[in-house]
Symmetry: D2
Subunit: 325 residues, 4 copies
């Protein structure tokens, strides 16, 4: 193995249910059990955990102990501001000042937690923020409130890196922050310098972006804080095993992560509903690692030449010979 650091969202070891499976397609496991499976997973160095989900303040001390004894690092601390019924009409953009304050507090507190756990970033996915229908939201207020919340969060923990995870839809029909460019615009708008962006492969595909291009865009503004790898069928954030749908887009992303000198965690965000969960994560890591090695073998000078000429046949031939038998 390389010295690349692979992590996975610890929910990959949970029930992996959906709205048609109340109890999950997999066994429901405690935080401790999930950590145990993660610890058994080959080539995995870290996990992403949810503050206010996997643990809250009252059991944080216990969680910390479990994490320590697992030997795993914390790649990111995520913020659970979406599952609670009170957030169903918005959290960071709630028009109810009390609810918005509660959400902001959770994210602030996640910053403290991240410091204590030595996490690279707080991964902030504002899943509750958005709308479902025409004539449901005042879009001027929506963005104003989001910018305001970002400012408040930024100020409370200036030494914590917050990484905004954009997603065009789900659970809201349209999210407040749906694309890499929208995340960038709002961070610039708020004028904060400890906010960056999480580029989730599947989210990017559903937004009709291209993950490699989105990463290059974010890197231009030094905002590529974190990445999530997975795959899907392009209509929905299915959180599938890596390289089961989009071989080329995944490989190109790996090329760009190298080209951009990305040195954060290679994070997996998966939900293996019907597969052995450890194997699904291991397979995804092996695949990514293999792709990094392919990329290293490709004659980059010639590749850049072909990109300059937009000569896709030349580029693909150059790549194929290092990859395919």
């Amino acid at each position: 193995m390389s010295d690349r650091k692979y992590s996975v969202g610890i929910w990959a070891y949970g029930g992996c249910g959906d709205r048609f499976s109340e109890n999950g397609y997999q066994k429901n496991r405690s935080f401790k059990e999930k950590l145990e499976l993660a610890a058994k997973t080959k080539n995995l160095s870290g996990v992403e955990v949810h503050y206010n989900g996997d643990f809250k303040d009252d059991d944080f001390a216990e969680a910390k102990k479990l994490i320590k004894s697992s030997g795993l690092q914390i790649a990111a601390v995520d913020c659970e501001t979406f599952g609670d019924r009170k957030f169903r009409k918005g959290a960071l953009t709630s028009t109810d000042p009390k609810i918005r304050k509660d959400a902001v507090e959770i994210v602030k507190r996640a910053g403290e937690v991240a410091k204590e756990l030595n996490a690279a970033v707080v991964n902030l996915w504002p899943g509750a923020d958005g709308y479902d229908y025409s004539f449901q939201l005042d879009y001027e207020k929506e963005i104003e409130l989001m910018v305001k919340s970002i400012k408040e969060i930024s100020k409370a923990n200036p030494d914590v890196k917050y990484s905004l995870e954009y997603k065009i839809k789900e659970p809201r029909i349209r999210s407040t922050i749906g694309t890499a460019a929208k995340a960038t615009a709002l961070i610039k708008d708020a004028g904060v310098d400890n906010f960056g962006v999480t580029m989730d492969f599947g989210h990017s595909m559903v937004a009709r972006e291209n993950p490699a291009e989105a990463s290059a865009f974010l890197d231009r503004y030094n905002l590529l804080y974190h990445v999530h790898l997975n795959d899907n069928s392009r209509d929905w954030d299915d959180d599938l095993i890596v390289n089961t749908y989009h071989f080329w887009e995944t490989l190109e992303l790996i090329y760009y992560l190298k080209k951009l000198n990305y040195n954060g965690w290679i994070g997996l965000d998966m939900s293996p509903k019907r597969e052995n969960q450890i194997e699904a994560v291991e397979y995804s890591i092996e695949t990514l690692e293999r792709m990094f090695k392919y990329i290293e073998k490709i004659d980059e000078e010639k590749l850049l030449e072909s990109l300059k000429e937009q000569d896709v046949l030349k580029a693909h031939k150059l790549i194929n010979k290092e990859i395919f038998i």
Copy 2:
């Protein structure tokens, strides 16, 4: 109100959760409580219930009593063959004979239940059947097993009408029966005469069909057994309030239901996550009823003339004057 019969899937009064909300965005309610809300809903005559979900054999007698005292009719008995972990790799198409048998038994038994409850149809949505990845399934076997299951079910209850509800995806990435035409082809293949099709508005939209056209297609073969109304953003089966996204497609469907002399239940399949559930259903019924009335006012001779000429401007002007202030 007209003499049209409106029903709703009783899950509209449940938790309405998704994978990000374990406990639902709404209150979790018992079958009894759901029936009570349904009974309070204006202009609602019936409900769809899940055999093996809302009740099983052991509490069926109790369920029957509750239904009776609610005063509601049973529009359809649905079959829960998808949420149980054992069905996660398929139910009616499972390659494990024991599991497939279990699924077939549930659907057969739903037929008995439907007779006892005087339901118009058994609504059979094979949600577990399909696949998630390339190289996961033997597609020749998949269809063979589905046809076989259909035959077995048909034979066991020749006097029960089974209505296949097609859906292109969710929870599997691709379902075995994704379109109106696929459902039709498999029914013909099985050679059964007590099977028809449920045209769900949202499923049809996600499959890139047009609900009105799909209904006309099914009617040509006398297969339009049941309909589900709702709305979505076209990417996903969001089960939203009627006429919040697709005004024209909904109105055209209503026109065709009349044109085709459809006289089954006008069934709603909704999941109002953040709205008052009774109001959401009432609003949907009022809207549909209003649309039926618009359609009755339109000069049909002139409309058919414009359809013959594919003169969309003429048709829309004709329609607009009966609808818009």
Copy 3:
């Protein structure tokens, strides 16, 4: 009629062909003939024309005369930097300095033309800029070149308003500037103050945006320079007649245009392939004008209240009673 100014892209009166119809589904008409049809169209005050398409430098004097005698205003001067074979691998982002310079010159010159024609904006749609395949483009260079071109164009005509028309795809599989937020980010990046954005309804839908929200977003930064109305089936920029697919999204956009005090042209960008072209434009204008009137009747105080509460049923009921018979 109100004092709102409606315009249409003059190509609506052309052949309206596609790749399967070389000669167009409609009659191919000269610029003069197109202007004549536009002049006959009721309630139409202006047109959008293509510099380097409808006319070039050598016949500009003649074109100017034709425009003057038509009595039509010029809403926008568009730039033809996409159809010429030399631009097939990019225009404003071409890695060939000579080709990029040619493209920049066309856009600069369009600025001069816009001044002479008293056009509100130069509408700049960089249709050739983007890519078709993975490993076809250096995305870092792509954005660098686009920002550079924007700067050069801005500087050459500081008193001309350039309006960037974003589009996620077509004719390239992915365009350099695909969303309202990406356009905003690049304008900020370039640091120019005479660039804004054209929000095209159909482009916004295909990008999985919501046109009303995109408009509010752009307005926050004073970038909503121009709008294009039309409709489509959400998968593709079909340039259909207004309000034939997305009633609610169109109505909401109209509400926001009013709410944001948008006072530019209400521009149509349509391609009526099989309809009487004059009637298609007239119908679209009548529909929009009707929608503006509906919006004026709605109790805005109550509407804003319902938006604040995210009470979609309340909002829709409030709206319905002013719209539907």
Copy 4:
């Protein structure tokens, strides 16, 4: 090379234009010139040509000579019933009996031509048939007319194999025959035995099908007459170079073509707008040939075992080791 027969639609060597490029992105070439390029293309054995497009009755003798001297076989004769302005509101489903008759005659005549050219099939893509708007078509009549036309065509040339090419959209917003199952249903409805189906990879993807599954479905009814290979971004029929987007779906299709003992032409349907056209076709053939060889190396017994178990990790590992370095 194997003894597999590769063909390409001869339009791959034409202008490859779209609605934004009147003169094409490539050189416009005569039928003779296109044949010359095809003849130069390595490993290409045949072409698809359009009757009523590439040649009509008056120049058919000349065309025949050109074909003969090219040394190329004719894989399929296609029917041009879509580009002519008179067919803009439908051809085989036109409500104007005269127009429908004209369309039927073209397809019948294509049957004669196919016999004279010894083509495997007449490829019948009814591109003009469908609709663009709600309330534009009487769907009951639409299907009735299509079935009627199929019967008439079938009867006129009982010894010619007609292969219906389905496509969900373009140039109409929705086509009459959009999926493999719809094509199957209509052929059964017409009761004809010389009609089958063309499974076009890109069309299948846009219809949210899976090409491998669609092929297995068609084969069950002995209807898989012809295939078209290409690739796209899933939103639109982009006719791109093979294996540039969907590696896994393409490989799985190749596996199924072998599994189903498909022995027709491996036809390419591509439109290389910005690439060397000969190279694009050669690269696509090489890629497919390489995939066939991979498939031959895979341990099929173990693969079928993993398919039976729906064990996607097992299957992918099995495949990977024969493919990837």
